[in-house]
């Protein structure tokens, strides 16, 4: 049982770069390009781990440790999300609040690391990240609160187990609204278009890229891996909370293999959705992002209110 849970965490951490690669490949295909191999993010990581670590003269110990804390907190958060089976390593006692705040821990140290470089880019990225994440916190938590109220439990594993028992056709307004809110937040939190452009290096627009500008070598590898894990975590969260059907009921090899395939298929569908969205709309102007997150907040608030109305 515990090995299954550990395996789940390892799966989420291991496939994270692949998810990125698949999105990039799908985007390339949609835009009529060939695109790089879906395994390219792994090659990038290997190469970065081999390179030397460049450190600015002004940097302190925070600069050195920030990538490790970012990575550690994100991977620990992965221990909360059930992917293949209705349980998780820390799923029985760790709830969604802890999950959200672990992500906040990683974000805070990423911002500090960015500001330690002593250039203006780091501060710029950290400042923008502060704006986006401060406003994204509300819909993220409220969306999960709404679902938790329905499931009458605060642990993510409990919510997933409750949803599995429900009938897919019993769609409720709460689920629809919470899904919309969380999907918008997932885009903002992982720095995808229209909130941030993961491929840009233009100082006027970049958020995440500006923060990691001073990092190189193994440090950069850890940060990039952590942000890939975050993306696959949030996708797994959406899948687990809103469409967990197909998860393994018991612990047999056949059921687990089937569950893995179903899970990968769902991740692929979400990746396709991201690729389509990123290819069809433009990045929002910086000061329209609060508006975007305001829509998410309104949906999340409505979801919470509906939990009481729909009783």
């Amino acid at each position: 049982m515990i090995w299954l849970s550990v395996g789940q965490v390892l799966l989420l951490v291991a496939i994270a770069p692949l998810v990125r690669g698949v999105i990039a490949r799908l985007k390339a295909r949609i835009q009529n390009r060939c695109g790089a191999s879906v395994w390219r993010p792994y090659a990038d990581l290997v190469k970065l781990f081999r390179k030397e670590d460049l450190v600015p003269p002004s940097a302190s110990i925070v600069f050195r440790f920030a990538p490790m804390i970012v990575f550690a907190a994100t991977v620990t958060a992965a221990a909360f999300v059930p992917a293949l089976h209705g349980s998780a390593l820390l799923g029985a006692t760790g709830d969604f609040i802890l999950f959200v705040y672990l992500l906040a821990l990683s974000r805070f140290f990423l911002s500090l690391g960015a500001m330690d470089g002593g250039s203006s880019f780091g501060g710029m990225g950290a400042s923008r990240e502060a704006l986006v994440s401060a406003l994204a916190e509300v819909p993220l938590l409220l969306g999960l609160v709404a679902v938790a109220i329905l499931a009458r439990t605060a642990t993510l594993a409990g919510i997933v187990q409750w949803t599995v028992r429900q009938d897919f056709t019993q769609i409720s307004a709460v689920h629809a609204l919470a899904f919309a809110a969380l999907a918008l937040v997932a885009i903002a939190e992982t720095g995808r278009i229209p909130v941030d452009n993961p491929t840009t290096h233009l100082e006027l627009t970049m958020i995440h890229e500006a923060m990691v500008l001073e990092y190189s070598g193994p440090s950069l590898a850890l940060i990039e891996w952590a942000s890939a894990v975050k993306l696959s975590l949030l996708l797994a969260l959406l899948i687990g909370v809103f469409a967990p059907w197909g998860m393994a009921g018991g612990i047999s090899v056949a059921a687990l293999v089937l569950a893995t395939l179903v899970f990968l298929l769902k991740v692929f569908v979400l990746a396709l959705a991201i690729a389509v969205v990123e290819s069809s709309i433009a990045k929002l102007r910086m000061y329209l992002v609060p508006d975007f997150l305001g829509v998410a907040s309104a949906l999340a608030i409505l979801a919470v209110v509906f939990t009481a109305l729909m009783r």
């Binding site: 302190s60 991977v75 620990t76 500001m115 002593g118 704006l131």
Partner: protein
């Protein structure tokens, strides 16, 4: 044994000022006094700790000796607050030992050492008093001694005004508290807490509501809930750093203590709007407090606004507890109260640590303007590390203590949906969103503070030449940082006695196991995070120091770093409705706008509360006073007429009443 130690500790503390003032300017006397104070406070911590964990009751009754009913008693709730006062007080004393010697001389230094123990003692009196007289006596002394400590730091028109506002707000609050106590009198045999408790059960609902509102306003003024907060950002920056640490970390908590005593001990369950009122006050204080803090770049003012924010979080917990109490759900009352009280302790720890850190920064770099700081972590390692712990705690990041209390608050909000009655089951879960917003904004604010002040490169020569502070100061900060982390990783050892302390108001309630599951999971989280960080350090790496990327141009200097103002600009722009700055742009000469000789730009931010609430109120009072002056003619016959008219009016009144 404990009782004797308690008596000895109180007497010892009372003696110190006399020793200081009588002992003259000798250094040995001061060292002796501060050592005595430290030992006394450590003894007090031990006493409070033992009676908090074991639940022993201590009492000293002086009613026989004095003409007034003056007695103190320590129950578990008092012991909890006593523990906070003594523990933080000990760390602050240790800090002051080094700080005061460097920054103060002569009589000012003597007065500081004399007033500090008295200030601590007055706060202890407030939390241990068991009669209304003793409580109010301590309450007033606390205001006066803290004002005295502020006066020590210097004198100017500006400081006098700030002090005046502080005293005015405090006395208005004290008047409301005193009125709250007096309203018990018609039904109570006396003003001892025990008789007030029994009297409250017999009182009509209207009277209880009146008492509740008076307590809300009176203690709210002390706690600094918005709109009664205006004294906080004025008084904290002008006090000596150790004193601000005590005022913000500990003195505000006495107001929380008083409110909990009134709301949960004396008065029974009230209507649910009491809870919504407190929730609204908490939400407004929390959100506006952190938004005002974001716009500040004076470290102490910024921290003062964060006190407003954290009091808001505490009030959110208290409000949720009141709502649960009105709906007769004692289990959740216990959870919400637990959250509020634990956050009180946590805030006491990390906020005093932050203020001591600010003191260390001003000691080392001679400024508190974070635009002039930068790169301090490399120069002050221990201070920087302790300050980072405090930052992580105040934001509420996991494995630090602030997270535990915020988690408990979240869980009590979530439980609101189980009540099933309409406003509560929507309002409480939505408050989770407010708390999330506060948390997100606080994270932004402290990323700014730490990033600008402690990281990057120094922004001024003073910051560049900053050196680590003396050992006593460092030790005191580490002393406060350790419990922040310990409570964050293993909260169980505080949660258990604290929930036992709540048995006093809620007999027979047991917290649901799921609700305190955090105590079980936090060690695992901490272990996982630390193990992963440790694994990551094992990665082979070759480090090379290279200049920061400057887009290929030479000469990147500290002026090109993001400043505090520019960091907060996006948030200030999004929440511009809150700030409404008065901006003036003057171009000289006015007739030649395109060829100016001088351009001056000024942006003044007065909070809207001063502009739209206090100023009109003050003007109305002054206006009325001017109009009333017409009664003062100076003519003796007119005064006789007044007396005559009063007599006639009284007779008429007596006839018809």
């Amino acid at each position: 044994m404990i009782q004797t130690l308690f008596d000895a500790f109180l007497i010892g503390l009372l003696c110190i000022p006399a020793v200081i003032l009588a002992g003259g300017r000798r250094r040995s006397i001061r060292v002796l006094a501060s050592a005595l104070l430290l030992i006394g406070l450590l003894a007090g911590t031990a006493v409070a700790g033992v009676s908090f964990w074991r639940g022993d009751r201590l009492a000293i009754d002086l009613s026989q000796l004095t003409p007034l009913p003056f007695s103190v008693a320590v129950d578990r709730l008092s012991a909890f607050f006593l523990l906070l006062i003594c523990g933080v007080g000990a760390a602050v004393t240790l800090f002051s030992y080094a700080y005061v010697e460097h920054h103060y001389t002569g009589r000012r230094r003597d007065w500081l050492w004399a007033l500090l123990p008295l200030f601590l003692l007055s706060m202890m009196l407030v939390v241990t008093a068991s009669t209304a007289f003793a409580f109010l006596f301590g309450w007033e002394l606390m205001t006066l001694f803290s004002a005295g400590l502020i006066v020590i730091d210097g004198d100017s028109e500006q400081r006098r005004h700030s002090l005046y506002v502080y005293l005015l707000m405090m006395h208005a609050g004290a008047a409301a508290v005193a009125a709250g106590f007096l309203l018990f009198l018609p039904n109570a045999a006396g003003l001892s807490f025990a008789s007030m408790r029994t009297a409250a059960a017999l009182m009509p609902a209207g009277l209880r509501t009146a008492i509740f509102l008076l307590a809300f306003i009176g203690f709210g003024a002390k706690a600094g809930i918005i709109p009664l907060h205006i004294w906080l950002p004025k008084a904290h920056p002008i006090a000596p750093s150790p004193v601000s640490a005590l005022m913000s970390g500990v003195m505000l908590k006495t107001a929380v203590y008083g409110f909990v005593r009134f709301g949960f001990d004396f008065l029974g369950a009230g209507p649910d709007w009491w809870g919504y009122l407190v929730l609204a006050a908490g939400a407004v204080s929390g959100v506006l407090g952190v938004l005002y803090a974001i716009a500040e770049h004076d470290l102490k003012r910024l921290l003062a606004y964060h006190s407003v924010e954290n009091i808001g979080i505490i009030y959110l917990g208290l409000g949720a507890a009141l709502v649960f109490r009105a709906h007769n759900a004692p289990v959740w009352v216990a959870l919400a109260l637990l959250a509020a009280l634990l956050h009180t302790l946590n805030h006491g720890l990390f906020k005093s640590l932050l203020f001591l850190g600010a003191g260390a920064v001003s000691h080392a770099a001679h400024t508190l303007d974070i635009e002039e700081l930068g790169g301090l972590l490399k120069r002050m390692r221990t201070t920087g590390a302790a300050f980072l712990v405090a930052c992580c705690s105040i934001i509420g990041l996991p494995i630090f203590n602030g997270f535990i209390s915020e988690w408990l608050t979240f869980r009590s909000f979530l439980a609101g949906s189980a009540l099933g009655s309409m406003p509560a089951s929507v309002v409480l879960p939505l408050m989770a969103g407010v708390l999330a917003l506060i948390g997100g904004l606080a994270a932004a604010c402290f990323a700014k503070v730490y990033g600008v002040a402690f990281l990057g490169r120094p922004r001024s020569a003073q910051a560049d030449h900053a050196q680590e502070v003396p050992f006593a100061m460092r030790a005191s900060m580490v002393l406060l940082a350790v419990p922040c982390v310990v409570i964050g990783i293993a909260p169980g050892f505080v949660l258990r006695p604290l929930s036992a302390a709540l048995q006093q108001f809620l007999p027979g309630t047991v917290l649901p196991e799921e609700a305190v599951s955090i105590a079980g999971v936090m060690p695992w989280i901490a272990a996982a995070v630390l193990a992963l960080v440790f694994t990551a350090t094992a990665i082979r790496r070759v480090t090379r120091i290279t200049p920061t990327w400057a887009c290929g141009l030479p000469g990147l200097d500290s002026r090109m770093q993001y400043t505090s103002t520019s960091f907060s600009k996006p948030l200030r722009r999004v929440f511009s409705q809150v700030y409404k700055p008065d901006r003036t742009l003057e171009i000289l000469p006015a007739d030649r706008p395109y060829f100016p000789t001088a351009i001056s730009y000024r942006s003044v931010r007065t909070t809207s509360f001063e502009k739209s609430l206090y100023r009109p109120a003050v003007e109305a009072i002054v206006g009325t006073a001017h109009r009333l002056r017409r009664l003062q003619t100076g003519n003796i016959q007119v005064y006789l007429l007044y007396i005559f008219m009063a007599l006639v009016a009284l007779l008429v009144f007596m006839r018809f009443a």
